[in-house]
Symmetry: C2
């Protein structure tokens, strides 16, 4: 499975997704709506399982993370503070000849070129850029198009009542930072996790569900002490190598160790649901790619069928999740724009500070001051005011005050679902005795995410004792997992149906279950999806046997 699927298989995957009820086009009976996708019965279960696993791993099972569920429509002031109103846009252009509209950067990329900017930040097409639809070079100049969906709250459509559909779930976490910290009795370092819908009015949605206009995110904002505070308390800041898991969190970790920790935690999450490390890729953003406030960002990629191949046929992959070290930018912005304090008080820092030698204090003071001043200046605060504010901020350290920094692992649910589906997709050609070949499709989902955990099949439909026993087994398992009961067609057909749905286990109730061979009374045949192997299990042990494998 390490070899990524090809674009050829992509078509078959899309077809299987529709045929088996994983994914439908939204509003299909009305000709669809570009960039929107629905999840059918199997897709909805797959998605629920993935979200539940993320929630449990990232919040319920951790002492240091609390959950949040905020609204999609929030005060528009949030999107001014976050910068989305001013800068969350893609360059758009039109072909004057065929009237087709493009994302200018993608249009360039698709012909091996790169969109550039002039000294004033205006987008410039490289020479020779053509319309990929009609080959014309008569293109409009690239212009920014804000990707936030806009609406009006209340009965008056005025500028005062504009609101946006959130383009990311992260900002609600920042806006509710104080409320959550206080009510959840947390102290920095701690995180806030959220799962929810987000919307981006993509110019050109593409690659099936990979880039859609309505999607779902699973985001954690993990708040940490600034390195200066860690150093004041612990004497120095531990850093770790840029690869490998740094182990259990330590009090003397700086942002770099926390960042590396979350990259590796997230990779482990993906491994734990069946995406082997070899199916993933990594991209560490370069200094040029990083936002001015970001210290690092590692994108975790998956090798999709549509991912670009380099000249040697190697696939880097497309983004599943970004893990960003965002400094104290987000909380600082909201503090400035809302006028509400976003800093925390850290008694450990206050006490440690008093015991530091003067030169150490001065050194930490100066570094914190420089960081704060750089943020303020870059964010458009005029130099004198920025200096004054940075001085106040740096003076705060001595009183145990700072604005937390944040590490943000931000994952897209729909992309992950698509990765899981393409990863699970397996074709096998079977040839029967007469030489007739048939292609068999098996969705090899990890049992943790598989939509159906077990198929329960009475050998024959017309034997009431078999049916009664099968129903009893179904009802025994159903409170604990998603069970599919199927009595229609030959047993081989029913296995094949579950293989296509990705059900990892089937149990068959046969005459031996009823005691035809007395030593097999109350046992069932358990069949494995991936190799078709079978074994005999006691009904009394079935639930725990399955729970041990699907959790």
């Amino acid at each position: 499975m390490a070899e990524p699927k090809t674009n050829e298989s992509m078509e078959k995957i899309v077809s299987l997704c529709k045929r088996r009820g994983f994914i439908f086009q939204s509003s299909e009976i009305y000709g669809g709506i570009n960039g929107f996708w629905d999840y059918g019965p199997l897709g909805a279960e797959l998605k629920r399982n993935v979200k539940e696993l993320w929630w449990n791993t990232m919040t319920r099972e951790r002492e240091d993370v609390a959950g949040l569920e905020a609204t999609i429509i929030m005060s528009p002031a949030i999107w001014k503070a976050s910068g989305h109103v001013d800068t969350f846009s893609d360059p758009m252009c039109d072909c004057r000849k065929c009237k087709k509209r493009f994302r200018a950067d993608q249009l360039c990329e698709d012909q091996g070129l790169a969109l550039t900017k002039d000294a004033n930040g205006k987008f410039i097409f490289p020479a020779g850029t053509k319309c990929t639809n009609c080959e014309s070079t008569d293109l409009t100049e690239p212009r920014p198009f804000n990707l936030m969906f806009k609406t009006y709250v209340g009965p008056v459509e005025s500028e005062d009542n504009v609101a946006y559909l959130r383009p990311e779930t992260a900002q609600a976490i920042f806006a509710q930072f104080k409320n959550v910290m206080e009510t959840a009795r947390q102290k920095v370092p701690f995180g806030i996790g959220q799962i929810g819908k987000a919307f981006r009015n993509e110019v050109t949605p593409r690659n099936y569900t990979f880039r859609s206009r309505e999607f779902e995110q699973m985001e954690l904002e993990f708040f940490i002490k600034p390195d200066e505070a860690v150093e004041a308390i612990h004497g120095s800041v531990v850093t770790v190598p840029e690869t490998g898991h740094p182990g259990e969190p330590q009090p003397n970790w700086g942002w770099q160790a926390w960042h590396q920790y979350w990259v590796e935690e997230r990779v482990r999450f993906y491994e734990g649901i069946g995406l082997a490390r070899a199916t993933l890729g990594f991209h560490r953003q370069t200094a040029e790619e990083l936002a001015h406030y970001a210290r690092a960002c590692v994108d975790i990629l998956f090798k999709f069928p549509f991912s670009k191949r380099d000249e040697n046929g190697n696939v880097k992959g497309d983004e599943l999740e970004g893990v960003a070290a965002r400094s104290d930018f987000d909380l600082s912005q909201h503090a400035r724009f809302s006028g509400k304090p976003m800093g925390v008080f850290d008694d450990e820092l206050r006490q440690a500070w008093g015991k530091l030698p003067k030169e150490k204090q001065d050194d930490l003071w100066r570094r914190y001051y420089e960081n704060r001043k750089r943020y303020l200046t870059k964010s458009g605060v005029e130099a004198e005011a920025a200096g004054k504010q940075a001085t106040d901020d740096a003076n705060g350290l001595a009183k145990g005050q700072y604005i937390p920094h944040v590490i943000e692992p931000s994952a897209g649910v729909d992309r992950l679902i698509l990765a899981l589906i393409t990863n699970a997709y397996t074709e096998t050609v079977k040839t029967d005795d007469k030489g007739k070949s048939e292609t068999i499709y098996t969705m090899k989902f990890h049992p943790r995410v598989a939509p159906i955990k077990v198929g329960v099949l009475p050998l024959l439909k017309n034997k009431p004792e078999l049916v009664a026993k099968a129903v009893a087994v179904r009802d025994l398992l159903r409170p604990w997992m998603n069970v599919y009961y199927d009595d229609g067609g030959s047993i081989g057909k029913r296995y094949a149906r579950q293989d296509e749905a990705g059900t990892p286990f089937c149990v068959t109730i046969d005459f031996d279950t009823l005691g035809e061979k007395p030593e097999l009374l109350d046992t069932v045949t358990l069949r494995y999806r991936d190799d078709g192997k079978q074994e005999r299990l006691k009904i009394s042990e079935l639930r725990d046997w399955l729970l041990a494998r699907i959790r």
Copy 2:
């Protein structure tokens, strides 16, 4: 708890919700946004539990229901077919003097009046209607205001690109009816369930989270055969009394029995999560209240603190869920508007029809024809065309074809959360030895929905053996339920904290756990939230003991 909470307690409930992290105002640091509410750490867990229970009860644990997860933004054609574009509005008016805006029907209601309509369907204020803010009678005429939030998909803000945020989740189910039926291998009768956000641009959001602009729904559309088909197959249609549970579904049930079944199933659901029947109310819509296509609708109410009292102080309650018998209106509309067939083929009907005496065929034909013609005429189809279409539809019966009818149990998640919170809220005044009184708050959630299932508390924080044992107990339970580990403050304080969070059980790890009394080695003190009673349990039995009570 049968006595509904008062408006006085409502204020304290709102305050507790904020203080303990159940519910926050959205965008609070920016002054909030009217009609939008966030769920904090405890609220998010409560909501997840409720949705999970609904999903399991209504889809996973039923053979006859499949799940769906559709987008919020769909083709606008859907909302034309459903009637929302034309008629989903509330009457709105302004006070010319104080400029306050009202929902005209609520304004009348608030002063004991009722908004009426003239012969042309225009809204008319009854004499004496005043502004409830400034007492002026200078009000604008009530005018309809469409409650759907509008936006534009794609980069051009033109009429062609208008889209709406769904005002209900139901329509996606109708639009995907065929896709789901086929991929889930279902046959009528069967249902499709969905949970998701919906949006209504309420003129005056009110009553805390009860009427908000962004909310979540849990909807089931349960598709059934038309009564004529049931009668053709089974000779007659069974009806049931209007109260009481009709028992397990039978093939000869008509719409009325199915409707009553779902009303009672839903009441059982509410009882199963702690809302006793006495806390609920019922409203059977009158012929005047019903939509033209609806055959019946029973609203399940909850007696909220803000629910109106009659002259005798009796509370009827406000709507938690409507269970509507919607005939074949929805699928028929989508068939007409999309041009795609929405009917099903029923071989049992086809076979049965052939064996019916001519007069029975004619009788059923005529009744089906009348129903179809009434729907078509009421929906604006001109008489001759309606007659022709109804004839075709009725002729279809003989071939086993019909458009399914639907029973729709449609519940609001946020209203249910608010009901669970107000129902759980309990004040107790405790007086200590010195005569000092203190009010204690306990959230008596049913263990199934409680955000935290168990608090794990080491008796003392500074005894490493106690802490190690407590952490081991926490880690034993955590994969199976939401656990809160707390070692801060006196044991009494920690109990009180869990009581306020609504945690049904606490376990304390003390010196006896470590074997101080050898016969109590590896046992813990289990404390019940509701009466403070304690008992001793073995750690080895703890997980199953808890699972039996929280599931």
